[in-house]
């Protein structure tokens, strides 16, 4: 199993465990997919009732997220707050020099992302927006998507918007991309032939292996995933799902990531931003 993730989990007994779990998980997944084969296709409605992944976690894990001083992701927020104020790039401008206090106007737009980027005439997620700002307006160096500094700024802005509801941008130019995201959500992929909908629409709340399947909302990202022992983006989490069904993850430049996020945001609209979340 090729490791597609830069930061894998603790290596202890990993090979033996992953082989045995693949056998168990694979069998469970195959049972799941064969039962689905006889079910009818259905159109995506929002899950009812809408439940954040927070609600499917154990009380101990919930407690980690509930208090900032208990939240391992909090350091990324503090780092993001610091970077927000720090002059950067050839322009030696800080985010604050243009945007002022993040708790002002910026706070209101964070829950709208992904939005339409005029310059590239394409949808852009918050991570891409921050990077675009850095490159265009600060003339700062490019950073890879999972770079700690990019995640920190995302975590900071997300935390500033904490408590606001996820609000899909009604911009009509996003509609086509959102529809493609919905197709992705329903598309069966990978060696296990599963779609996002198979697990997260039909079987949320049920158990797969030792875990409870969440509805799969993007409202807590970036978040600290216990399995990663680090903070990570929505993209990283989706990549893990793709690998989980034994599909080839999309390349970084593919619009699929933002398209899927557009749909996920619509699907979970109204759920409160929880950034920085903690998840198993």
């Amino acid at each position: 199993m090729r490791e597609t993730d830069r930061r894998g989990q603790n290596g202890v007994g990993r090979l033996a465990r992953s082989c045995s779990v693949f056998a168990i998980g694979g069998a469970a997944m195959l049972a799941l997919s064969s039962s689905m084969a006889v079910e009818q296709a259905f159109s995506n409605l929002r899950p009812q009732p809408l439940r954040s992944g927070f609600e499917t976690m154990s009380p101990a894990t919930q407690a980690m997220q509930a208090r900032d001083s208990d939240n391992p992701a909090w350091f990324a927020v503090e780092e993001g707050a610091r970077l927000y104020q720090q002059p950067a790039g050839l322009q030696q401008r800080s985010c604050a020099s243009c945007h002022g206090d993040a708790r002002g106007a910026l706070r209101e737009v964070v829950p709208l992302y992904p939005r339409f980027d005029e310059t590239r005439s394409a949808p852009i997620d918050l991570s891409g927006r921050i990077e675009a700002c850095r490159v265009r307006h600060q003339q700062a160096e490019r950073l890879p998507p999972e770079d700690d500094r990019r995640l920190a700024l995302q975590a900071y802005l997300g935390s500033v918007a904490r408590g606001l509801p996820m609000t899909p941008d009604p911009d009509p130019r996003l509609q086509a991309a959102r529809a493609r995201g919905q197709e992705r959500f329903n598309q069966r992929i990978g060696q296990l032939g599963l779609s996002c909908a198979d697990c997260h629409d039909r079987h949320w709340g049920q158990r797969l292996g030792g875990s409870m399947i969440p509805q799969g909302h993007p409202n807590a990202y970036p978040l600290w995933r216990l399995q990663w022992q680090s903070i990570g983006s929505l993209q990283r989490r989706i990549r893990a799902c793709l690998v989980g069904v034994r599909a080839e993850p999309w390349s970084a430049a593919e619009p699929a990531w933002v398209e899927l996020e557009l749909f996920l945001q619509w699907r979970g609209a109204g759920l409160k931003v929880e950034t920085p979340g903690v998840r198993p």
């Binding site: 490791e3 830069r6 894998g8 989990q9 603790n10 290596g11 202890v12 208090r67 900032d68 001083s69 208990d70 391992p72 909090w74 350091f75 503090e78 780092e79 600290w224 022992q229 680090s230």
Partner: protein
């Protein structure tokens, strides 16, 4: 290692036993993981946390690789009087993180 956060209860009465929490940013690399290159990622962990109250050691903890990344601990202290709590984390590369907090006792 650049950050730490501690939680010290407010409005503490003299003689009360309080619980203090302390968390430090650290990857706590176990030394058992293999990286992308197939080689073992070297161990890099916090070695010790020491908490002093007005210069006197009131708590010490020895860390081992089993502790989580961004390790967190809760420990007790009998609050006798107001003073300064100093938290010092030292890791296996000799890096030190220091955090301070006031303990206010009425």
């Amino acid at each position: 290692m650049s950050r730490a956060v501690v939680r010290v209860p407010q409005q503490v009465r003299a003689g009360e036993v309080i619980e203090i929490t302390a968390m430090v940013a650290h990857p706590m690399e176990t030394g058992y993981r293999t990286g992308d290159d197939g080689r073992i990622v070297p161990r890099h962990i916090v070695r010790e946390l020491q908490c002093e109250f007005d210069g006197q050691t009131v708590f010490r903890m020895t860390f081992f690789p089993a502790l989580t990344a961004n390790p967190w601990v809760a420990f007790p202290l009998r609050a006798e009087r107001s003073g300064l709590l100093t938290f010092t984390w030292t890791d296996d590369q000799g890096r030190v993180v220091i955090e301070r907090a006031e303990l206010r006792v009425s």
